[in-house]
């Protein structure tokens, strides 16, 4: 998959042209400033099928990160898996399951590097590999997608990608990495073959990146990495194996009681998290017709683990909060070697009680914890 070393430069003022050209064959998502309040930015279709009229005019590159993570482009919150009706069943015709196959291709422009990394974690869950089961709905969309990551220039106080992820210019999960440089220019670097193909769109839009440009890109990456607040742990980053070992040993540690004190038990953290991927499956039926849907679910809800008998192995909020962190810092490490946290900081910002995941990491980073 490793592409060439293609680097090309695009004027910021011509970005819309590029996005429109890409939209000839696929849906192009790009960061769009919402109308109210305008500082909230989301990835929205700006070109291709389903694009909102006027969305292209609201494309912005002035954002820390999008409010939603891009996981919903590939793993939508509500997904119809198939529909059925009585007549089809009576005639022994299969339920219509071709819905995922219809999924159009996607170019996701402006994904932050932390979120691109998160997609590689979702791939391990949903694409065949880690298990022998591939999820056709997710895989289909991912196969037909190109992720254009946008390197961060101004990390937030809630960012900690350098402690758990690959930093503000990481290329994991990205097909192209875009960096904003002087003179209102954007430098596009192909990371994969798909990325190289994207850089061949609209030949007249580009100019070649020279040595000075490449040096400027490198300097921008280094400055951004330095600007990410260091995690207040002894190492300044997450010691994956040590945190896992301490969490495993500390399953019954009273620290969990303290960490749970302020938790109100909502699912905002899990729904906004780029790596949280738990789902529920439900049938919605009206008379003799219905659909089977898959929806996001959250380990923070009591019914998440409630058995049909009524027994609940995670009856208390403490158990559910512990599950969320153990899943990210122990169970996934055991299964795939990865911490399922990329340091995007969404849960830090949006938690109604400011229950900060970095403090959980810190609690299990201290020697003797």
């Amino acid at each position: 998959m490793k592409g060439g070393t293609t680097s090309q430069v695009l004027e910021r003022s011509r970005l819309a042209e590029l996005l429109r050209a890409l939209g000839n064959s696929v849906i192009v998502y790009a960061p769009v400033a919402s109308r109210e309040p305008e500082h909230v930015v989301e990835l929205e279709p700006v070109a291709g099928p389903g694009a909102r009229q006027g969305a292209m005019e609201s494309v912005t590159l002035e954002y820390a990160n999008t409010r939603h993570s891009p996981k919903r482009l590939f793993f939508p919150q509500t997904e119809t898996m198939f529909r059925y009706d009585n007549d089809a069943l009576a005639g022994s015709a299969p339920a219509s399951g071709a819905i995922a196959a219809e999924a159009p291709g996607i170019v996701a422009f402006g994904v932050r590097p932390c979120d691109a990394l998160a997609l590689t974690y979702l791939d391990k869950i949903f694409a065949p590999g880690l298990t022998s089961y591939g999820d056709p709905y997710y895989t289909r969309r991912r196969e037909r997608s190109t992720v254009v990551a946008f390197a961060c220039s101004a990390p937030c106080g809630s960012c900690f990608c350098t402690a758990v992820g690959r930093g503000p210019a990481g290329t994991q999960g990205a097909d192209v990495l875009v960096t904003s440089i002087s003179g209102g220019r954007l430098c596009f670097e192909a990371v994969t073959d798909k990325g190289s193909a994207l850089l061949e769109t609209g030949a007249s839009l580009w100019s070649r990146a020279d040595g000075a440009t490449k040096r400027e890109v490198e300097a921008a990456h280094a400055a951004a990495a330095k600007a990410v607040p260091a995690l207040a742990t002894p190492e300044g980053r997450v010691d994956r194996d040590a945190v896992k070992a301490r969490m495993d040993k500390g399953f019954e540690d009273p620290i969990w009681n303290r960490l749970t004190e302020s938790c109100i038990g909502c699912g905002a953290c899990t729904y906004l998290c780029p790596t949280c991927h738990c789902f529920d499956i439900a049938d919605e039926q009206h008379h003799y017709q219905g659909r089977r849907i898959r929806t996001w679910d959250s380990c923070q809800y009591p019914q998440f683990t409630r058995h049909a008998s009524g027994h609940n192995p995670r009856p208390a909020r403490k158990h559910r909060l512990r599950q969320r962190f153990m899943h990210k810092f122990s169970y996934t490490v055991e299964k795939s070697g990865d911490i399922y946290c990329v340091g995007c900081g969404r849960c830090v910002v949006h938690c109604p009680v400011n229950l900060d995941i970095r403090e959980v990491i810190r609690a299990f980073s201290a020697p003797g914890a």
Binding site: P37, R67, A154, S262, I264, A282, T295, Q303, V348, N354
Partner: protein
């Protein structure tokens, strides 16, 4: 502000030192400026470190409604079949007007034991709306908030300083608030409170004056933002049902997905369940990561309850909330004469 903060610390310290309470709930500095967050200090913490109460802060971002945290300490209240053996903990808490009114509502519903609580009442000047603040500084990350009188100075991460009139960025809940000074507390702190508002009825009247098509569009577009994360419900101090109707699976009232009709049903039923209990503290609005504006609906319910049943969720400990009682004078026009009797 600082005088109030010192008083809160002093009283909390003496309560914990003197074993008058086992636990004190207040606010502390959050991890992302300028936020604060709920803070829990036990008598043990103070025994180990006498300066533990210095964590407590008071300022213009102490928005969380703390009343929602006490219900868990008073589970199995007397009168229920299952009696608990250990005594209830004694809980101390800082309350604004809204926290106190929520506590009164919870006490009436036997979810809080007033006799087991020691309350410090703070006069409230209104809390700052952090989203409004973010808008005012163009979405920049605010690292510091300095207040001088009626002015707020926001220092952004890039060093840009913005001066804003405090009143312009006070939360809507606080501007609307009829009860900025808590009543019925054990330790009232003296200080300036804002002028009481009208419960939001003036701006609500504007919405009521819209055509039904316009109101429907408003409702529809707000509900379309909902991601069903339940943050509104969980942040609400009076949403304490052990099992929410939205979670029933044997008799499923609403779907689990993001279908617009499910989001609408969820919010409508939740708001109706809050009739005579909601204090319009806007904890739901602040908690929502998607910025769903539930204010018109909570305000409307409060207005209806006042007009139909003469009940206001104030500080009165003895008035019975309309959902728990009835009188022969209760309005029933909306049942017997739906065309003409509805206010």
């Amino acid at each position: 502000m600082e005088a109030i903060q010192n008083e809160v610390r002093r009283i909390a310290r003496s309560l914990l030192d003197g074993k008058a309470v086992d636990l004190f709930i207040g606010y502390e500095t959050g991890t992302i400026a300028p936020r604060t967050r709920p803070c829990f200090i036990t008598a043990k913490d103070v025994a180990a470190d006498p300066a533990a109460t210095d964590r407590l802060v008071w300022g213009s971002t102490c928005s969380n409604n703390l009343a929602g945290f006490v219900q868990r300490y008073f589970e199995n209240v007397p009168g229920r079949r299952k009696k608990r053996e250990e005594p209830y903990p004694r809980v101390g808490m800082v309350v604004k007007g809204c926290d106190m009114r929520s506590l009164v509502a919870l006490t009436k519903e036997r979810q809080a034991l007033r006799g087991s609580m020691v309350l410090i009442g703070v006069p409230c000047r209104g809390m700052i709306d952090l989203r409004e603040l973010a808008s005012r500084v163009g979405g920049r990350e605010v690292r510091e908030l300095r207040e001088t009188g009626d002015e707020v100075l926001a220092v952004a991460v890039d060093g840009v300083e913005t001066r804003i009139s405090r009143e312009e960025i006070v939360q809507s809940a606080c501007k609307d608030c009829r009860f900025p000074r808590p009543d019925g507390v054990d330790h009232p702190i003296v200080g300036e409170a804002r002028t009481p508002g009208d419960g939001g009825e003036a701006w609500l009247a504007e919405i009521e004056g819209l055509s039904s098509a316009e109101r429907w569009e408003r409702f529809r577009s707000e509900m379309a933002k909902c991601i069903r994360c339940n943050a509104c419900r969980q942040a609400c101090p009076t949403c304490w049902c052990k099992e929410c109707f939205a979670e029933h699976t044997d008799m499923k009232w609403i779907g689990v997905g993001t279908d617009l009709s499910d989001a609408m049903a969820f919010h409508l039923i939740r708001v109706f369940h809050q009739a005579g209990r909601c204090t319009q503290c806007d904890a739901c609005v602040r908690a929502c990561p998607m910025g769903v504006d539930l204010r018109p609906y909570t305000r409307k319910i409060a207005k209806d309850v006042r007009e139909l049943f003469g009940y206001v969720t104030d500080f009165a400990a003895d008035a019975l909330p309309p959902l728990t009682t009835f009188t022969m004078e209760d309005s029933d026009g909306f049942i017997t004469d739906p065309e003409g009797g509805h206010p």
